[in-house]
Symmetry: C2
Subunit: 248 residues, 2 copies
């Protein structure tokens, strides 16, 4: 073996380069879309040869997967912070929703990468390891949501309706949010719908779905707008500020 510090320097350089690749990919993806993202372009952007890029990623789909994995960590960070919010379980669920809304406002490129990756035949081109990571991330996020649901049941705030499981309820909530974001993402669909503030609509619909679940206290019994204010001030003051700045 040779000098450790030198070894490390090189390794650090490589590690760093991976970050630069992802940054470049993110930018290109946002500017030129999926078809505009090419390995040559990435290589040129980071001023290395294509072969070097291929030492980090097996394909351009693999790069995109890595982009989503990286950004997902930020997403989880916000969600985990939201989960620490103290209050009735339903208030914590509202906090989770707010965390995710802020996330999508702050990182609009995530949605795009996500949608590309979701296309079956593309995901198949990523490395197995990355695939497993994505799987693990999803289940981590799901765990937090079902956890809050179970807490609500334990506290007597919620009786699972129609013999649904906590997972099925979480599935419903995720569906609503994912679908809403997807529709929001394609400008043309929004214009058809003539929606002013899709984020607000998704939020309101989520509130009403929770009412439909019979999750106490209902919106008629509790001021969730106030809860929202608290979450924003107490948990996400910086993010709210940044989201205000970012035009989405």
């Amino acid at each position: 073996m040779h000098d450790v510090s030198t070894q490390t320097r090189k390794q650090r350089e490589i590690q760093q380069r991976e970050g630069r690749i992802l940054d470049a990919a993110r930018r290109i993806l946002l500017e030129r879309g999926y078809l505009g993202l090419t390995m040559d372009r990435i290589a040129q952007a980071i001023d290395y040869s294509k072969g070097t890029v291929y030492q980090h990623f097996t394909s351009k789909e693999d790069v995109i997967a890595a982009v989503t994995i990286q950004t997902f960590e930020t997403r989880m960070d916000l969600i985990e912070r939201a989960a620490t919010f103290s209050g009735r379980p339903r208030e914590r669920m509202v906090a989770l929703g707010e965390a995710d809304e802020l996330f999508f406002r702050l990182y609009p490129d995530y949605l795009r990468a996500q949608q590309i990756i979701r296309i079956g035949s593309l995901l198949a081109k990523t490395s197995d390891e990355r695939l497993a990571t994505i799987q693990a991330q999803r289940s981590r996020m799901l765990g937090i949501a079902t956890g809050v649901i179970r807490d609500a049941v334990a506290q007597g705030d919620l009786v699972l309706p129609m013999q649904m499981t906590a997972e099925e309820m979480a599935f419903g909530l995720f569906s609503l949010v994912l679908g809403g974001r997807t529709l929001t993402g394609s400008r043309s669909e929004l214009s058809v719908l003539g929606m002013a503030d899709p984020f607000r609509t998704i939020r309101q619909t989520t509130f009403l779905l929770l009412d439909g679940f019979g999750w106490r206290p209902l919106t008629t019994e509790w001021d969730y707008e106030h809860t929202l204010q608290r979450v924003r001030q107490e948990v996400f003051p910086n993010e709210v500020e940044r989201a205000r700045g970012a035009r989405v």
Copy 2:
């Protein structure tokens, strides 16, 4: 000008070929995914040269768009039939949901094509005319949903909650269904969720969302399972039978 009937024969032939192209594309898309769909492959499948395929479509994305447009007509057909179902407005909304569920059961390839087309930079490669058609189709479908919502309001069964508009409510419903289908589409996500019957879960969640909207009669006041049975028997006997056969 020459003989009209001959002219027509040729034109019919061309028309017919367009159908064959779409059929082939659908099949290839289902079997080999987006990346496996190539213009050469399509040409080979219909036993014509690539150039001929290009006389119908400008690009492979254009083909996919045409696939969705064609299948969407089937979707609209089911939805329009559902809209004729007589009953309280909420029952008609249930009928719409059932129509769409049957549609996705019967034509699973639609979801795939849809997701591809939704990716911005791909949609950009389709012809303007097709783009306009897609736009028109969406607004047609939206119109039916908002129509039912407005009927409910007119009949006093529904008071729009939280100052939402009919369009925003429709947006919420579409979001839920679209998101649910998307999650259902990717096997890996389902396995994480451990869902037995995602279609049922989406249906139940929709019911509960309508409850959340305060749309009378609520599930506690009315047997919508019975409504569902009626819809299936009275409007979609054939489709239900076919859906039973199709393993999705």
